[in-house]
């Protein structure tokens, strides 16, 4: 039974956008009891397709061609009342950002209860009974308590479960999930994916699952549609598309997905360029949290980074890996322990420390000052350290070439560059100071898979040519495997396990590391 039929759907973008159509001639079909994964990089139009199917296109976007039908009901002709009748009742949607998807000022119980009260006109008592049942089905701990709770009192994973319970409340025929697990930790992601598969099987709902991560596709997809720049470039069963991709774009994407197998270990220098001894950092509960006990972000961490090598710090959010990075570059003052560079403690004055250690940040769109030329932002560090401006700018041009950018681009502004290019500028800025240690805090996690691969390749090449020592912070074990020589797994501010990356991933000693590896989606296909 075809639940959802989409033929040659076309949506036009408002004037002045980078291309004329958001999506062009998209044809998809979704059968009952089936999970269709729509996969593609950012800007491929996968989210626009989902919004069109829910009648929630952003203002300025207009459906100009093609047909959409929900179990035979033509969606394009629906008026506002028509849409209201089917939204939530026959077709439902779960969104990406759990933190902002729920109304902060209303209890969870009220927001879920609304579904039954509005659509079925049930009274509060009956709605409450059904809400508890729904929350139990999504395996939320303490459903009674959750009803009275406000969104900010739940974790990201719990909120996503609430969203799923809300979407499936009225047993809709079609459930659209727009990257529901992208913002979650890898272990939580694994649980939510399992939950969606289980609910889909039990209710026979047709699920359209939108993602950019082929691991997720491998994990749950029955059929796959690959989208690029608004067009469906390939469609087929999961097995066909993943093992025998027809379109070369699909092949390129699959190649870019990092596997868990690390390249053979290379000889490492014995001398440690960066040493952390008993590093401790507690967040005193200042301000409004006065009564909470202080949180220990780092609890006596001791690590060593060998000269010319790359040490990966992996862990889930809240494990303390970012705090560690910020303490190393002195953006945060550690409460205890020492940071040694080349044997000597890191100097207190910012200017001296700048020549020893530099940092690359995660979000490409926040790491550059929008109002200043990129060349100036790269050269300003050396200029402050005494290099004459003309020479500093010349060096900046050389660095642009080194990181694979057009040297003439130094005079442009950040908004004229893509995400990947901005990260390359960030790297150039760090290298301008010729630091002994480069700290990279999740440098690629905000990028599309293909761009991610290019930046990782750049880092590997720079390490060989310049003998860089890199402290690499990431939550994605596969990315760590591709680049790093050694790894330290962190949890709750403590190092669970450390050692050469190949050995640790092949035979993890700690139970926590094993669960992390197991939670990597699509491990069967890529992990081997």
């Amino acid at each position: 039974m075809t639940r959802l039929l989409v033929e040659n759907l076309t949506v036009r973008l408002p004037r002045g956008a980078d291309r004329e159509y958001a999506i062009e001639d998209v044809s998809l079909s979704l059968e009952a009891g089936e999970i269709l994964c729509v996969v593609g990089e950012s800007g491929s139009g996968k989210s626009v397709t989902a919004s069109a199917l829910m009648g929630l296109l952003a203002p300025g976007l207009v459906v100009t061609g093609g047909r959409m039908a929900l179990s035979g009901l033509d969606l394009r002709g629906l008026g506002p009342a028509g849409w209201r009748a089917i939204r939530g009742r026959r077709i439902a949607m779960v969104f990406q950002e759990p933190m902002t998807a729920l109304n902060p000022l209303m209890t969870v119980g009220a927001q879920i209860g609304e579904m039954w009260r509005v659509h079925l006109g049930l009274d509060a008592r009956e709605a409450r009974r059904r809400a508890i049942a729904a929350l139990t089905e999504v395996r939320l701990p303490d459903p009674e308590g959750a009803l009275r709770a406000y969104p900010h009192e739940l974790s990201g994973g719990q909120r996503q479960r609430v969203m799923i319970a809300m979407a499936l409340a009225l047993e809709p025929e079609v459930l659209i999930c727009d990257e529901p697990t992208t913002a979650l930790d890898v272990t939580t992601q694994a649980q939510v994916l399992a939950l969606i598969k289980d609910l889909q099987r039990r209710h026979g709902t047709a699920v359209m699952f939108i993602t950019h991560d082929f691991g997720v596709v491998a994990e749950i997809a029955d059929r796959v549609a690959v989208m690029r720049l608004g067009r469906v470039v390939e469609q087929g069963t999961a097995r066909e598309v993943l093992t025998a991709p027809q379109h070369d774009y699909t092949r390129a994407l699959l190649r870019a997905v990092p596997g868990l197998r690390a390249p053979p270990p290379r000889p490492l220098a014995a001398e440690a360029v960066l040493e952390l001894r008993g590093l401790t950092k507690t967040y005193a509960s200042r301000g409004l949290f006065r009564r909470r006990r202080p949180v220990r972000a780092l609890d006596g961490v001791s690590l060593a980074l060998r000269r010319g090598a790359t040490l990966a710090i992996v862990g889930e959010s809240g494990s303390g890996k970012s705090t560690l990075a910020r303490c190393v570059v002195r953006l945060l003052a550690a409460d205890g322990g020492e940071v040694l560079i080349g044997g000597a403690p890191l100097p207190a004055r910012r200017r001296e420390a700048a020549r020893l250690v530099q940092m690359v940040f995660q979000d490409p769109y926040a790491s550059l000052n929008p109002r200043r030329r990129v060349g100036a932002q790269v050269a300003q560090g050396p200029i402050a350290a005494g290099t004459p401006p003309a020479q500093a700018l010349a060096e900046a041009r050389e660095l642009f070439t080194l990181v694979g950018l057009d040297p003439a681009a130094v005079d442009r502004f950040p908004h004229e560059f893509s995400g990947g290019q901005r990260q390359r500028i960030g790297i150039a800025r760090a290298l301008a100071m010729r630091p002994q240690v480069l700290v990279a805090d999740e440098p690629v996690s905000a990028l599309d898979v293909s761009v991610q691969a290019q930046v990782l390749a750049l880092l590997r090449e720079l390490q060989h040519r310049l003998g860089l020592s890199i402290l690499f912070i990431t939550h994605d074990l596969r990315v760590a495997a591709q680049l790093c020589d050694e790894v330290a797994v962190m949890r709750g501010g403590v190092v669970e396990e450390a050692g050469p990356i190949g050995a640790v991933f092949a035979a993890p000693r700690s139970e926590y590391t094993r669960s992390l590896i197991a939670a990597i989606p699509g491990r069967a296909l890529f992990g081997a």
Binding site: R87, A92, E114, L288
Partner: protein, 325 residues
Amino acid sequence: MRILRLAGRRLAASLPTLLIILAGMFLLLQLAPGDTVDALMAQIGGGDAAFAAEMRRFYGLDAGVPAQLWNYLSRLATLDLGHSAIYGKSVATVILERLPATLLLMVSALSFAFSFGLVLGVIAARRVNRWPDTLISTLGLIFYATPSFWFGLMAIVVFSVHLQWLPAGGLSDITRSLSGLAAVVDVARHLVLPTLTLGLIFLAIYLRIMRASMLEVLSLDFVRTARAKGLSETRVVARHVLRNAMLPMVTLIGLQAGTMLGGSVVVESVFALPGLGRLAYESVVQRDLNTLLGIIFVSALLVIAINFLVDILYARLDPRISAEE
């Protein structure tokens, strides 16, 4: 109990502010040419040097400035606001006499501006960029740009002189001694024009803030979720958007409290209302330092009290705040 602790904390936090204000104003006014005795003689239209010297001794102006500041602050510690030169009685009683008029004016102006600002803001946001929005926004700008005294005087000319609908000034009709409901209606009729005059500028401000806040909230994710749940647009606005959009409006009340008191100086002088605003203007002209500082002390307490109420209202509206207290 929690509320008392909250109040205590807020009062303690604002004590240093209060001290800065009072000491600052005291010293500032020492620089003003002439003192309250000069003002008294100006008002009488006569008085010789002996009269002036005797009065200066009587008002304690002969002591040095530091001495005067010190004994003013030490008296203040015991909540004794000192003696008013203009009225010949304690500042506290003078202020208590004039406080009701100002409170009535401020409360009615604030509720008028807040409620109409809210309603018009929502209407403008719901029909953004269409004629109701442009009309309301332009009206808002015009109200904002109108000098309050000018509007007040014109309102008197139209409504009380030509149309004889409303009294031209004062707080109540004293020639007829009224009681109960009749008295309330009488005071209300006297307050219509002053409330409109003082409230106008704040109506414009609340209107603009509400419109911007509504547009901001309408663009947030949880509104898209609400729509995806199949709720009607009115229910989305009423149940989800409105309460979130109200938050900046509530904080604004606290911030505007001080400016509103300032505005009442002009409105009370145009409508001859016996409020703190006009008393403050008189005490500046009369160089009656005790009364002026008393008024500033009371208005500071008023502003702090309003901010405290705003905090409670905000905590009631936004669970994220009260959870942490």
